[in-house]
């Protein structure tokens, strides 16, 4: 059956994109036969623009632009429900990771800017200190996302409960961390 699927995709679509995502994710995207199990269990499907099973189909037939510009790839929270339930053994959460990484590498503007900005701000905090420091990270996120007034009450609640560390913890080995970032994320 896989051979038939491959033939069909070769004849109808652009195989290069599928190969690229398969290599980066390590997942046999070509095996998806559209049962929809991933979509049925997806916690963010209710708010997404395309469904997880549509993501695999679009990758198979080489619809690069719409999938890389979709909101779905950013909304995916990595809960691994689809991965766990896929009868074809496709770890779809890893496919979503590969699609985001590809979208960033191609400098495609994320359709969920608040989510991509959060990830970037989180990682910048790790790169600087080796650990996440919530207060500075959240302040930076607010400035970058323009969401200046969101979650002020939540922040106050956390502060009053002593749930926010005032002083950041700096790692001794932060030059090691910096090096890891330079050779992966920064390259």
């Amino acid at each position: 059956m896989q051979a038939i699927a491959e033939d069909r995709i070769r004849l109808t679509g652009e195989k290069k994109f599928c190969d690229e995502i398969t290599a980066l994710s390590g997942q046999p995207v070509i095996s998806c036969y559209q049962c929809g199990e991933c979509t049925a269990g997806c916690p963010v499907a209710f708010t997404a623009d395309i469904m997880p099973n549509q993501v695999t189909r679009m990758v198979q037939v080489g619809l690069e632009e719409p999938v890389l510009r979709s909101r779905m790839i950013w909304l995916c929270v990595g809960c691994e429900t689809c991965t766990t339930r896929c009868p074809r053994g496709i770890e779809l959460a890893k496919v979503m990771d590969a699609l985001r990484e590809t979208a960033v590498a191609r400098k495609i503007k994320p359709s969920e800017p608040s989510i991509s900005t959060f990830h970037k701000t989180f990682l910048d905090s790790v790169e600087r200190m080796g650990r996440v420091h919530e207060i500075t990270m959240l302040a930076e996120y607010k400035l970058r996302s323009g969401k200046l007034f969101s979650d002020l009450l939540l922040g106050a609640r956390m502060f009053l409960k002593g749930k926010l560390a005032l002083i950041p913890e700096f790692l001794k080995g932060r030059s090691d961390i910096k090096k890891i970032f330079n050779k992966t994320f920064g390259k």
């Binding site: 980066l24 916690p43 963010v44 209710f46 708010t47 909304l75 929270v77 990595g78 809960c79 691994e80 429900t81 991965t83 766990t84 770890e91 959460a93 990771d97 590969a98 985001r100 990484e101 960033v104 969920e112 608040s114 989510i115 900005t117 959060f118 990830h119 970037k120 989180f122 990682l123 790790v126 080796g130 650990r131 996440v132 420091h133 919530e134 959240l138 996120y141 996302s145 969101s150 979650d151 939540l154 609640r157 956390m158 409960k161 002593g162 749930k163 926010l164 560390a165 913890e169 790692l171 001794k172 080995g173 090691d176 961390i177 090096k179 890891i180 970032f181 050779k183 992966t184 994320f185």
Partner: protein
């Protein structure tokens, strides 16, 4: 029993209560935890969202340090556990990747250190031993055991419990003398890392979970993840406002419930840090 301890960023800040209660109950059970010196953030959701190599390298540095200690690793945070375990599985499946990653972190690593969630170690100890430590059975507590996603999924990676109907937390709660509520949302996702960036999604998912727990007859929840706990507890009043429903469900870390049943003082378990006050369920629900 001696383990390398990986608290992760949350347990040093927003989940201090998880850290306190973990250290307290492990001490009671004779589990010695040695914090991994100079540990770094595992990268959590954000690293694997944006860069695969980064998401493998960050946890691996901690595992390489643990290897110099000669100890397997306990990670109480479900997200940290999942990232560390994923990273370990990835390098064990691929020797070339292991070599490249060791080079990247500037440390040798064999891939042989085990990464365990705290709940797995407690499970190993067994309910008999847990029962022997119980001084104040949690009578009248009706607990919805909430495992969340990353502790049990995907099963090939986590190698822990059942991904659809896990039992370890259920068994532990029963051993503590509380009633386990049978409910279908044990492993539903709370939206975790979208809490700040896409709050409305988290409010909806958290509403589903809280209202299902309530309907099932729970008077509190037990969690094993700082992200879940923060969404269910810190955000509970926001969810109540958004959905016009009152839940009033304290969301304990399972280690806090253990500590209460073991008769440890509330302050040593960080009970004062819970946003939804546990006072009422505890005064009516715990004997002794």
């Amino acid at each position: 029993m001696r383990y390398a301890y990986y608290p992760g960023c949350s347990l040093h800040s927003t989940a201090r209560d998880y850290n306190l209660s973990t250290l307290a109950v492990c001490k009671q059970l004779g589990i010695e935890l040695v914090e991994i010196p100079d540990w770094n953030c595992c990268g959590a959701t954000s690293a694997h969202a944006l860069n695969r190599d980064l998401s493998i390298a960050l946890p691996l540095r901690n595992l390489a340090i643990a290897e110099t200690m000669g100890l397997d690793v306990i990670a109480p945070c479900a997200a940290c556990f999942n990232r560390m375990k994923s990273s370990n599985v990835a390098v064990n499946e691929n020797p070339e990747l292991l070599a490249r990653m060791s080079d990247l972190i500037g440390m040798p690593y064999s891939g042989k250190i085990k990464v365990l969630p705290l709940l797995a170690v407690i499970n190993e100890i067994g309910t008999e031993t847990i029962r022997e430590h119980v001084k104040r059975p949690l009578e009248n507590l009706k607990v919805a055991p909430y495992y969340g996603c990353l502790l049990v999924r995907p099963p090939e990676t986590t190698e822990f419990d059942d991904p659809e109907d896990p039992q370890s937390l259920d068994n532990l709660i029963t051993a503590l003398g509380a009633e386990v509520v049978n409910w279908p949302y044990k492993t539903e996702c709370c939206g975790a890392g979208l809490s700040i960036s896409k709050t409305e999604v988290v409010l909806k998912l958290t509403h589903d979970i809280l209202s299902m727990a309530k309907r099932a007859g729970a008077n509190c929840l037990a969690t094993a993840c700082p992200l879940c706990q923060s969404n269910l507890d810190l955000r509970q009043s926001d969810v109540e406002k958004a959905y016009g429903e009152k839940y009033g469900l304290p969301a304990f870390y399972f280690t806090q419930l253990m500590g209460i049943a073991f008769g440890l003082p509330g302050a040593s378990l960080g009970l004062d840090k819970l946003m939804v006050s546990p006072e009422q369920v505890l005064t009516t629900g715990v004997r002794g």
